[in-house]
Amino acid sequence: MAQAEALPELATVPWRQPTDARWLRRWGRIWHAWTLLYTVPFIAAAVGMFLLDPLATPVALAALAHAWIIPELYAFRGASVVRPKARGSAQGEPVAQGLLGDLLGHDERELQRRTGLALQRGELGIWLVGQGGALLVTPERRRVHCFCVAASDAELPPSDRIAHLLLALRSDEVGFATVANHAFAGAAWRVRRRLPLPMRPALDAARRAAE
């Protein structure tokens, strides 16, 4: 057997630091701080306006709405990485399902067929791989990292797109995360709320597996 090598796609992003556990922890904290930075001022402004003049209550409510909506929009952006993409060849999908099924264990295969996401255990955490992105549930369960990444052939059937990502992930987990674009990191409950309903059991399963 030839010797294992780093993901060749790393050559396309030579400027990036490896997305390892330390990198993920740091970016998790940065996203947390960023969320507080754009939420707390709106809440403080709302409380201040209400205390200064109850007539400003509508404006205060608008400020509170901003404090709620902006984090939700970021979570929506994160969850969108795994939303099914309306592209690729549907003709080859039954065969592609066969290949993907061969790559997965029984439980993971059933989960993928129900939710569209393939569960993969890694050193960094539990991955959920979709057609055009992946979610990573870190071991402490509180945080989900969302990555936008896809196979370069847009004509591939949906299951092939997942299988190609899965093979790359299994070859070099840190390399996979480094090549992918980090879209969001936040609480699992926030990402879950923005996932399509059929995909939510996959995130629940990943959180259980991360325990």
């Binding site: 080859g92 936008c148 896809a150 004509e155 190609h164 299994r170």
Partner: protein, 68 residues
Amino acid sequence: MDRTGHTTLAQWTAEDDAAFADAVREFGEQQALGYIGTVPDGPGKATHVRELPRDADMVILRRPIAGG
């Protein structure tokens, strides 16, 4: 691999030098087209290969990935 499913590009055995040579040539042609060789190594593991391993049960050619 084609647009409608999957294609077996080559088959070989460790003892069949001619078949392996054909497979190596096909593997090289696919690499030139941008495909990447990957050997599934059991549950949850895979190995990227630049050269066709003679003793592998199966080598899957995948497309490169990129951040979206």
